[in-house]
Amino acid sequence: MTVTLTRAGAPAQITRVNDSATMVRVDGLTKRFPIRRGWMQTIRRPFAREHATALAGVTFTVERSEFFGLLGENGAGKTTLFKILASLIVPDAGTVTVNGLDVVKDSARVRGLLAPVIADERSLNWRLSARENLRLFAALHNLHGAAGEHRVNELMDITGIADTGTKMVGQFSSGMKQRLLIARALLSRPSVLLLDEPTRSLDPLGARRFREFLRDEIVARQRCTVLIATHRAEEALELCDRIAILDRGVVRAVGTPTELASRIVGERYYLWTLAPSHPALTCLAAQGTVTNLVIGERDEAGWTRVQLEIPGGPRTASDVIAALAAEQMPIASFERVRLPLAELIERIVANRSAVMADA
């Protein structure tokens, strides 16, 4: 698998996969929206049109049964991308296919394959019970009679809302409403599920339970391909097989969290030593073999934790340990730590900005 940074507007280099294994293919997707202008601007230049770019040449693929994350800040273009996938917005350029079907030309068939979980609770009918909400959408998905009723019962059991009885949805907690939204999306047994910030209105415990539900039920048992848009790094880290980092409408990088960390910004280690300013360590830092040295506080026994990053993967880390040991630097512990994804994204975006500034 290859991970690369890309120039603005250019597609990220992605893993070549067998076409039959590809469920979603996004190729050169571009979307601009008109900018609403003020009264004065409209009077001065009535025919001028200004646009904001929401997506610029977005390219990636998602394999069958893969849990794929779209990570980015607010306004990065995640929701626009999802709406195009759900055929709710028409793209300006580029193509999107779901199981080989074009989302613009074959929108009706795509809607049978793909289900967006609209995270807005207001899209539920609050004056109806969960069962009645599901019955309505079962009918809209052509599930009638006993088949529809069976599917509704099945999903209410799966999502844990079977005991809500005749209680109106308006009286549900946010977590219960999210479960109902998921159940609604699963009615048609979709091959692809789109989740747009599904835990944004949940408390930390509710969010954790919801993630467990997604991982264990939706992916492991239902075998759905899932695309999740989120700005919560821990969510993407916990759930996703691969992640695309979206920044101002451009895919900056695609890969597994580990790959993104190791190949783009290196890996972070903690080193416990009695001599944090040892010449061997200083020399390696000067050579650039280790970077971002941060010397922490000393404990009562005199040991200091030094945080460092070693680009080049575990083999380089092994060489660093050998070099430090050869120079008789007193080391009690050398441990590899996972770089927080939020920090990773920040660096990828910053790195990209620097590249653009240089250009």
């Binding site: 979307k31 929206f33 008109p34 626009t80 709406k83 759900a86 709710l88 917005i89 028409v90 009706a108 809607r111 049978g112 289900a115 967006p116 609209i118 807005d120 207001r122 899209s123 009918n125 004056r127 109806l128 009645e132 019955r135 309505l136 959408f137 009918a139 809209l140 998905h141 052509n142 009638h144 109106m168 609604r184 048609s188």
Partner: protein, 266 residues
Amino acid sequence: MHKIFALVRASWLVGASYRMAIITSFGSLIVTVVPVFYIARALQPMMGKVVQGQGGDFFGFVLVGMIAFMFIGIAVGTLPGIISGSVSSGTLEAYLTTPSSLPTVLAGLMSYDFLWSFARAVVLVITGAILGAHIAWGKSLLAIGILALIVLSYLPFGILGASLMLWFRTTGPLPKAVIGLSGFLGGVYYPTHVIPSWLHSVSSAIPLTYGLRALRRVMLEGKPLSAVAPDLGILTLFIVGLCALSVLAFSRALHDAKRTGSLAQY
């Protein structure tokens, strides 16, 4: 039909959850029709001759006008209301992500309002009959057919309003203008021939003028289809022309909404 039935059922369940609203909906009919009865009775000596060609009974004349007017209000106002409400709540997006077509969804969402209005109209007619209005019960089916044509002739204004709602998030003055003009110049409370002659041309451009005249002749005088065929012919021309225009406008508005991503913006 399954989908439309499911949407009507859901709307009914929602409506039924507002119990007081159901009671007041029917209660208000009684409160309205009784004063109308007494006022019409008081005006009968003066208005009897004026409404001679349309039943001759002024109470019956106004009663039929009220029923048709109630339906055109629904035809013009319901669809923009549904679009506005469902765009704001996000339910339109949710419906559009199903394999159901938009016309099916909108038909289902509107049907409840029409069925509810039909139930209210039945209550109005029965109350009117109890109070003494002469109703040609044998022509009920034909009357329902004419009422359906009146609704169809006003539905395009609702579709145009929905298009404006998609484009500009407001219908502007369209629904009020259509309903107001139809109320004043379409012969709801008085026959169109009593209005000033310079307004006749405006009146003749209003579908309700023809639909209501035909409906009264059938409902109150028991006239056969052949007697009202010319009026129904003109009504049909309105339907064809306005439907083509409104469907074109709505298709364009929906395409623009999908292009600008405004289906869920409020």
